[in-house]
Each structure stands twice: as structure tokens, then as C-alpha cells.
């Protein structure tokens, strides 16, 4: 069947769990910013966790269904409505042929994941259906959705409506948000005082926050350890000889506003990095709205691995709960 896009929302893209394997050529992994939410939405409607769904930021799309389907909306709190009737979040509900799915205003979080039984059936590009708009790759014609698009949807399995993710298993950022960071990479480039300030200060998400990266403002400027700049690095003390950027790495151009690279990251560049957000906290970043107060929390590798283990356990419980 197809779903007719009546309105695209703000920026709604087809996403799955990403396209690993091409970062060495500058093509990022992409995929849902909030992986846990996308997995949950898919499981709720009887899809594989890696099926393609829609990710919408701040404003939901308006979608007309041409056949019956099961739908689940997870992630941010942005209530779904079927022909105007409110539906619960993190729960599978039915949309009948001819009905329209719309969304209320965003209450908390930033991004919703919309799973539809059968999954969005656009062709795979380099092994994934995720949209990489800069490269016009994947997704629906390589771009965010637009009004008038007709989205192909696969054939769903028989799954029952009403299945729900228990409240305790829905993950949301705290207030202030806390992001755990393993210092490293070019951490030694800033003074000890700046290293302390970075973790002591309260930062706020800036307006420049998207799938490529999240910028933060409000903390004290970082001071650099003096050195003669290496050949090829560029003259600013925050410059390095262009290197790869890890997902989650935090670069601070000019020492002023940290930027965390996310799923659609540029693969490298010439700015030094102070460290990397741990894998367990990457999903949370995608749910931060501009102006959200945020603290960076310093952790060790062992703490990062323990946190990763906790996320793995949480995912196993989710699968069990929705089996």
C-alpha cells in the first residue's frame, strides 16, 4: 500500500538503524537518532527492529492511509491523532483505510519515531533505507518528505493493537539533561582549569541542533595549552590536521561552543575534540530541545562499558515485554 503525505511536518525522514561501513568515504551511519525508540516502535507493530520508519522532529507530519495498518509512535511526547481522536504514545493502534494520522503539539522531547506495520518499503541504498539528505542517498528519493509524496509500505505481519511499552521502560532525558563523556582525543590541548570548567558548567542546547550535530552554549570558553601549531593544522589553536571524527565526539571550534556529532556526522575535519559521549547516551541527545540545560558528566571507560551493559539489558527486557 502507499501512504499519502498531506503535510511533511518540519523535517520528516525515513530512517532505520543505519548504514554502517562507509564512514571511511564520508558517508555516515545515519538512521534513527533515538535507536531505542525506533526499535520499540517497530516491535510494537510486529516489525523487525531494523525496519524503516519515519522520524519527525518538533512537528509531526499529516499522513493519509490507503489501507488498514498498525501504527506506533514512540520517542518524544507528541500525541498522535487518528481522524482527530487522540492515541496513546508507545502503544500500537490501528489506522483504517481512508483515515488520517496527525499530531498534536510537542510536549517534551524532540523526535518521534513512527512505525507502520510492514515498514516503509523504499529501496535500500548501501544496505539501508535511512535518508542521507546531503548525499541525496536512501530514504524517499534521498530527501525529507514533502506534501504529495506517496510512501510505499510493505506487508505487515499479524500483530494486535493495544500492545504497549510500560512507562518505566520509556527512556527520556532528565532535567537538566546529563550526557556522560569519556575525555580523550585532543583533551590535552586545553588547560587543567578549562578541563574542570567543561564538566562544572551548565550548558544549553543551541538552536543549531540537527541530525549532523548538536551545538551547546553558555559554558566558559576553553583556554588552550600554548604550542606552535603543527604544519597543516591551521593557525587557530583549536585547529588540528584534519582527522576522523568519532560519532558522539565533541569538537569545540575556537574553544567556545561544543558540538556533539550525531548520526549524520561529517566524517572528519580540522577541529580538536575534547572527548566523546558514550554509546549508552547517544539516543538521549536526539530528544533534547534547544535551550535544554545540559551537563557533561565525566566517566571512565569502565563506567562507559557498564552503562552500555545496562542499555543492553534494558533492550533485552523491552524485547521480552513485547514478545
Amino acid at each position: 500500500m502507499v501512504i499519502k503525505v498531506l503535510h511533511h511536518g518540519l523535517a520528516t525522514t525515513v530512517q532505520d538503524l543505519g548504514r554502517p561501513g562507509y564512514f571511511h568515504l564520508g558517508i555516515p551511519v545515519g538512521g534513527a537518532m533515538d535507536r531505542y525508540a525506533m526499535r520499540a516502535a517497530n516491535l510494537l507493530v510486529g516489525n523487525d527492529e531494523g525496519a524503516a520508519g519515519l522520524e519527525a522532529v518538533f512537528i509531526g507530519p499529516k499522513l493519509e492511509f490507503t489501507e488498514d495498518a498498525l501504527v506506533a509512535v514512540t520517542g518524544a511526547d507528541m500525541p498522535a491523532k487518528v481522524d482527530g481522536v487522540a492515541q496513546p504514545g508507545w502503544t500500537a493502534f490501528k489506522v483504517k483505510a481512508g483515515q488520517t494520522l496527525t499530531f498534536d503539539f510537542l510536549k517534551s522531547g524532540a523526535r518521534i519515531c513512527i512505525a507502520i506495520s510492514g515498514g516503509i518499503d523504499v529501496p535500500e541504498a548501501l544496505g539501508s533505507r535511512s535518508t542521507y539528505p546531503i548525499g541525496a542517498l536512501g530514504g524517499f528519493k534521498g530527501r525529507p518528505l514533502a506534501a504529495g509524496d506517496e510512501l510505499p509500505v510493505g506487508t505487515g505481519r499479524l500483530a494486535s493493537e493495544g500492545k504497549s511499552v510500560p512507562e518505566a521502560m520509556q527512556r527520556k532525558p532528565g532535567m537538566p539533561a546529563e550526557l556522560r563523556v569519556l575525555p580523550g582525543l585532543y583533551w590535552h590541548r586545553v588547560t587543567e582549569q578549562s578541563q574542570e570548567n567543561f564538566f562544572a558548567d551548565e550548558w544549553k542546547v543551541a538552536n543549531e541542533a540537527d541530525r549532523m550535530g548538536y551545538r551547546f552554549k553558555g559554558g566558559r570558553k576553553l583556554d588552550f595549552v600554548e604550542r606552535e601549531q603543527p604544519f597543516g593544522a591551521g593557525s587557530d589553536p583549536s585547529n588540528i590536521v584534519d582527522s576522523c571524527y568519532p560519532y558522539g565526539s565533541i569538537q569545540v571550534p575556537g574553544g567556545t561552543e561544543p558540538i556533539i556529532l550525531h548520526r549524520d556526522a561529517v566524517s572528519g575535519g580540522g577541529y580538536f575534540m575534547v572527548g566523546t559521549v558514550i554509546s549508552a547516551d547517544m539516543d538521549l541527545i536526539g530528544q533534547l530541545q534547544p535551550h535544554t540545560p545540559t551537563r557533561f558528566v565525566k566517566v571512565t571507560m569502565e563506567e562507559a562499558l557498564a552503562a552500555r551493559g545496562e542499555r543492553r539489558t534494558a533492550l533485552a527486557r523491552l524485547r521480552e515485554a513485547l514478545a
Binding site: H24, G26, V241, S267
Partner: protein, 291 residues
């Protein structure tokens, strides 16, 4: 060159072969990155070579980060002893310097530039000590370039000029990045040249444009049917200045599927190059043109 290791969170190992850029550092990083690839360390999912460093992505559910570190360190010794010889290819890229499209763009963003009174080419020629833009273009297209990294965005090559350090073209990036750069712009920032594979933001000085697509997600361009990205680290590039007529002709050829960039297989030995840069470059160019 001291190698420095650091973890990028719990999923990445960053290996810096040298703080400063040089062909030696590039060869060391490429050789180590290949060593890591060939050793097939379990749990390693991606290896990204960069100019003077590289990055490994791994799955810490499969291998402990300390074990990745141990195995990569063990490869460093062997990589250092490896012969600095690279089997690669040289490709000729036509460039329409001083073209109307980058010119329109650089005028639109003039207030973000160090020298709003001239063009990027005027500025780059002057600060690099060339008497005219023609002399500068002569230098830019006169020697080959090494693709020392592919990335930033899909398929974008960073290129390192194959001349003595004191002759290398160096320019600062724009004071504030542009929000627009024409697709296939030939740019330069710091000591690196680049070709913008897609249209978008950018901070490098703009010198010209090539008619030759280097990234094609539709894989319809004749030489990109097998894979959508043209460049690989280690490729050698030689620019060929062309005029408007030749540019238009090449664009038409690309559209009709009959554009074929001249490409030759070459073996590059860093030691020969270090002994005689101009001689090595002359040989490379000879190979390119079938001498």
C-alpha cells in the same frame, strides 16, 4: 613521529601517527590502517584512514577496548618497517579555473573573506608569492596531489600537494564558513586541496570547478556504476586547466555517458619521491599521458 592512541568513547580508537602533516605521516597512517584491516581483529567494524591519523570503530560487546588497543599497538612495529610503496592510480581531473559559478558564490559571501576587495584566486596568489593568477594556476596544476583522506561529506577528497613543503600552497579558510558552495568546486584550506563532492556549506577558498562528478548516488555516471564514490585514499590527482568551451563539452560528455577520466595504474615509492620530487612527478605525468 610518535604514535598517540586515544579512545573516542567506548566504540572508537583514534590513532594519531603525527601531529603535523607530511607524506611520511600519511604513509604511516595508511600502512597501519591497512595492517589493522588485514589482521582482521574480531569486533573491528570500520577503519577510517585520515591525513596523518586513522580511526577504528569496534563493538565493545565483542572485544574489550583495551584488547583492541593491544592488538593495534602490536601492528605499529610491523607497519613502521613496511616498505613505503603504494600500488595506486593517477587520474587527470579537468578544472575550469576562475569559473563564473564559484565567482558568483565568492562574491555573494565576500564579507566573510579575509580580503573582500579581490577574489579567492587573487588572494591565494598574492599570499603565496605569485605575481599573477595565471602563475598561481600554473603551480596548482603543475604538480600532482595525493588524496590523503576521503570524507567530511560523501566522497570528498582531501589532497596534499606533492612539492617541497616551502612550495606548498597554503591559505586560511574563510573567516566565517559559507552556507553555499557549488558542487564540484575545487577548493583549498590550510595545506589541503579538496573537491566539494556535493553542494553545501564550506570554508575553503574557491579556485575553480571540475565538470567531472566524483559522487553519484544514482550510479548512472559511466565510471561510477560500480560504486558511487570515485576517490580512495592513496589516489594521485593531476589537475588540467580547461576553458569554458572544454568545460561545456565535458559536461555534455558526462551527461551522455561518454566522459572517461584518464586513469593509469602506478606504483609510488616514497623513497624515490623524497630523493627526487620533480623527477618522480615528471615520471608520473609521463605515465598518465602514456609515454
Amino acid at each position: 613521529m610518535t604514535t598517540r592512541y586515544s579512545f573516542g568513547g567506548d566504540e572508537h580508537l583514534f590513532v594519531e601517527c603525527s601531529e603535523e602533516m607530511s607524506l611520511e605521516a600519511f604513509f604511516k597512517s595508511l600502512s597501519m590502517a591497512r595492517g589493522v584491516r588485514d589482521s582482521g581483529i574480531r569486533g573491528v567494524t570500520e577503519i577510517c584512514p585520515a591525513n596523518a591519523s586513522f580511526q577504528i570503530k569496534f563493538d565493545p560487546d565483542i572485544i574489550h577496548p583495551d584488547d583492541v588497543l593491544k592488538e593495534v599497538k602490536a601492528i605499529e612495529g610491523a607497519a613502521a618497517k613496511a616498505e613505503p610503496v603504494l600500488k595506486t592510480r593517477i587520474v587527470e581531473i579537468p578544472v575550469f579555473y576562475n569559473d563564473p559559478w564559484t565567482h558568483e558564490t565568492l562574491m555573494r559571501f565576500r564579507e566573510r573573506h579575509q580580503d573582500p576587495t579581490g577574489t579567492d584566486l587573487d588572494y591565494a596568489a598574492r599570499i603565496n608569492g605569485y605575481g599573477s593568477v595565471d602563475d598561481f594556476v600554473g603551480a596548482h596544476s603543475g604538480s600532482p596531489w595525493f588524496v590523503s583522506m576521503v570524507g567530511f561529506v560523501a566522497g570528498l577528497p582531501f589532497m596534499y600537494q606533492m612539492v617541497e613543503r616551502q612550495r606548498q600552497i597554503q591559505v586560511p579558510k574563510y573567516l566565517r564558513p559559507r552556507t553555499d558552495t557549488p558542487r564540484l568546486t575545487v577548493g583549498h584550506g590550510g595545506c589541503f586541496g579538496c573537491i566539494y563532492s556535493v553542494r553545501g556549506a564550506g570554508g575553503y577558498q574557491m579556485f575553480g570547478i571540475t565538470p567531472m562528478p566524483i559522487f553519484d548516488p544514482t550510479q548512472t555516471t559511466s565510471y561510477l556504476r560500480d560504486f558511487m564514490v570515485f576517490f580512495r585514499p592513496g589516489d594521485i590527482v593531476k589537475f588540467k586547466p580547461i576553458d569554458r568551451d572544454a568545460y561545456d563539452q565535458a559536461v555534455e560528455d558526462v551527461d551522455k555517458g561518454r566522459f572517461a577520466p584518464p586513469i593509469r595504474e602506478v606504483t609510488f615509492d616514497l623513497r624515490d619521491y623524497q630523493k627526487d620530487i620533480d623527477g618522480t612527478n615528471a615520471k608520473l605525468e609521463g605515465l598518465l599521458h602514456g609515454h
